[in-house]
Symmetry: D2
Subunit: 325 residues, 4 copies
């Protein structure tokens, strides 16, 4: 479940923060009590998301130091909401002065202006991928709880066939595959609460996400029904399947297999080449590149996709406790 800036029902994140405002952050509500929190794991997850990873990406230096403000005492969760902030540092707002009244192509500049009549033009404001840092915090903590339940999440960026050419200032998209392992059968809800639907919403809410598929996904159209049945078998005293075309979810509910899905990301629209924009009176404006931007965002999205998977999975595990008398 998501409405505006909140996702989740029993385990939820309500986030806030513009790219160039004082800080970003959020409130995690519904973290079960009694969980010993590993702050080092949180730092590692945040580090995975940071710009400047490897040679392929280079960008703003975001230290992403998370300050936890509530909900944890002596390293153990209280069950009360966990508020946290991440100060925005290493900002260069002047990089955006020239964009105050300009709408960049394939950005959210125009749509935010159309919706609100006002926008924070610096760095994309609320539309910036900067807000994903808050998701990684909530996801990291969710992962710790899931880990204690034997559930793990692993994402993997699939290299595009296009050659890397960031010296030319262009960008590339990519596909990110993710596996949630160890989810017991029976997690997820019926009809509108299908686990596959909730995962789709969570993934498609990530900036630049443009496609989602589970199991065989779009490839199902190339097969007859008889070819892609996941036949049942009995192994180690448990009912399981011989194949996993379904991607671990049937009728919206987990069947105990690995939950496998993919997310398609479009190339980031901020290029290191001049592009044509438009001002709010309709006049064309040439936008010269400034600042520092990623050419290939997909590796940085891995911890974000994992975080969303963790939030949705933990939320559904908790909801699932109410399924039976």
């Amino acid at each position: 479940m998501a409405i505006k800036n909140r996702i989740g029902n029993l385990y939820s994140l309500t986030s806030f923060g513009e790219s160039h405002g004082p800080a970003i952050g959020g409130v995690i509500d519904g973290m079960p009590a009694g969980v010993t929190i590993d702050m080092e794991q949180l730092k590692r997850e945040m580090a995975r998301r940071r710009p400047g990873q490897g040679g392929m990406t280079s960008a703003r230096n975001e230290l992403d130091e998370v300050e936890i403000l509530s909900g944890i005492m002596d390293g153990v969760t209280l069950g009360t909401p966990i508020g946290f902030i991440i100060r925005n540092r290493d900002q260069h707002p002047e990089d955006y002065d020239h964009l105050k009244n300009v709408f960049r192509p394939s950005h959210a500049d125009f749509t935010y202006h159309a919706k609100y009549g006002i926008r924070d033009h610096r760095g994309g404001g609320r539309a910036s991928a900067r807000e994903t840092a808050a998701r990684v915090v909530a996801g990291a903590l969710a992962k710790q709880v899931l880990d204690k339940m034997g559930i793990t999440i692993a994402g993997e960026a699939v290299m595009s066939e296009l050659s890397s050419n960031d010296s030319a200032g262009d960008t590339m998209g990519g596909i990110l595959k993710c596996v949630i392992r160890g989810v017991p059968p029976g997690i997820g809800e019926t009809v509108f609460g299908k686990l596959s639907a909730q995962l789709a919403e969570a993934m498609m809410s990530i900036p630049a996400a443009k496609g989602f598929e589970i199991g065989l996904g779009f490839d199902f159209v190339n097969h007859r029904g008889s070819e892609v049945l996941d036949k049942w078998t009995f192994k180690d005293g448990k009912i399981t399947t011989q194949t996993n075309f379904s991607g671990g979810i049937q009728g919206g509910i987990s069947n105990g297999n690995d939950i496998c899905f993919s997310v398609a990301f479009k190339p980031v629209a901020t290029l290191m080449q001049p592009v044509e924009g438009i001002d709010n009176e309709g006049n064309p404006v040439t936008i010269e590149p400034r600042g520092r931007h990623d050419a290939y965002v997909v590796p940085r999205a891995v911890p974000v996709v994992e975080a969303m998977a963790a939030i949705v999975t933990l939320d559904n595990v908790l909801i699932g406790r109410a399924s039976r008398l």
Copy 2:
């Protein structure tokens, strides 16, 4: 926003009903008051969904007569909730007697059993596509309101490359494309409430849906950023784009262009061939085909996809009224 059997925030549908229970139905909450309802349009939408359309599908004869129980007086909406039911007729529950303790492959039999410890084994119970009839009711009424706002929705099944071979008892999946036209710029919410994410959730909640993409979708991975920018232009006094790779949504909010997305459906798992199932003690069971089932479901899904698009769009149009002072 969806939780369990409810979707939508301000315009919502809460549905109920098993395939072989007394009836299916739902409650539509948040229908604006003062709308003159066209009952003939509702009947046409329901007819589009019925089995037995053309030569490609043949199945149970569902008359789908909708009985409206509240919320409309003298053909005009009151603003109060619209309750409705559709009696289940032409049922052959005996077709399922042999499945009482059997889990069919790639169905929700096992997952519902794992979740609830109990299930309605007749016709798939709540997991059956029968529940989509309730979605079409809520979608049809939403379409009528959107139509008055100049917003239209049109879906189209794309033929699979596989030849039709339902005499062999096998099934095929397919892709369904849909366009929402006339949505003004500014509709949709930020971050977790992205219109693209809400559409993804709504579509992926449809039985057999296994993939969703918007704009270029998965094909984005084959293009550099510079190739797929939707450049701005000024036409007829309005800011619009020259191309529409984005699919009409940027930063989760509509930009005034056609909203274009695709949904991938897997082949229906109920074949007219014998298949191997398993009973709840792990013993293999051969399941002989009985009854009447669709070979190719995608044409019937068109009104369902349109209905979900209508529900999400109207909901967001209503929420959007609160964006500004």
Copy 3:
């Protein structure tokens, strides 16, 4: 949690229906699976609500036959939503013809008109107490589940000091006390989710409810803090209190004691005397009494108050399962 026509989070009721429409009803979502339902208990609860109880009330004859349409198979809950309807019978819509454009004093006629620009003038439409029948259905089923958990609910109408005088056509309000017994410590949520707040909302949503208090309630103002402390004691191996000024809830969470609250109901505004109304152009209109109306509604509200208490309590018991790891 309540929004519009829905109450509850994990155990929820979404209701519909106008007084003189075809039917009222609702959808119960989140009923745990595996509960054996006692249909006789449901009938008894509905009978308690019906008009015409004892000499003090006389009114429309509502048979209130509940038709369950889903979610229960062979008398056991499936965990899927329970849809139900109650046909409106014994209606005399002609009793209201003269009120089509008239606003009665202290009714919802004017406010519905102001909100929607349209209203069902017959019998109060959606504002009629008729909708409480749907609440009793959801509450009755919730009571059955709670009963298996050792939780019981008992309400009691407190006689007004005013003498009964319905032959004079006037009406009286009253106070209704209710006790929820057997709730274990720890049920309810913090801050905005306080159990006392949720009960207040549920009770104040009942037609004619105008006040709510828990424990000593308004009488607290007449005591010093030292006089009304609920001191702890250790009894039968459990920590409990010697007194119960708190009414069983502290900090919004149950402490194991009886949860005791009161609801104040105003006199029903439909009198059996002529009253002055106004038409929608501002002209005064004398409204002659027609039909059959209750003089003293409070005894009929007992099963409604108990039903709301049951819905809130079961909802919170289910949410409570997610409090700890």
Copy 4:
């Protein structure tokens, strides 16, 4: 609508923070864009809430400096979520060392322990009235928006008949009356979304609140129906009432009159006298008073009650924009 630590649907506050943790704060989601914010008004509202007002109360010195972290740029709201924090200062956690394993009478110590198995014992943790500071922030901003719509809110503490005697270390409760003026007719929702029910929930969620009534409230029981009808009249071209026994709300929806309600607060349970507590093994413990505590909390609750009224009213004004086509 409230669930756990969040209240509101379209205008919502999700809060966090323990009394003696690093900070309290919250996220306001749904603030309409384009509102010029008066930071001085916010400071004044926070100052009204602070301890140490007048001779009757004396307590911890809370500076309550609000740091806004997002959602406002150049003093104007962006429509994006407003995150804010208030650092906890002037804390004396050592005042609570002796209470680590002790449950104080009529506090939330035991209930939190029962629910979570763990609690922050310092100053009441999440149960402390400290969290109300976050409510005042959200309420202050809501008031600014309502003010532009001609809606004002004024609360007033009614003195108890008990004499002030804080030198004796005891405490007193009180009644707080509040008026919401200028709400146009038609605000509020039907059935479970009644404005009176939402106000009841919001008020009863305030620490120490034990009763709520609207209009004549509990006094209705002393009157016959004919005596308390709010008769309609036509004045200044508008339909309005001659009296206001209803308290401005009929059928859950505003009728244009002043919305008048009262909230009953119990005496604060933290006395400046020794009291008997119990430890978690059931042994009695005498608790000596330490620190600084309020004897009479009601005046400090005035801005909190007003804040809750503002949050609920603005939320419903925004929801109301979706009532009609």
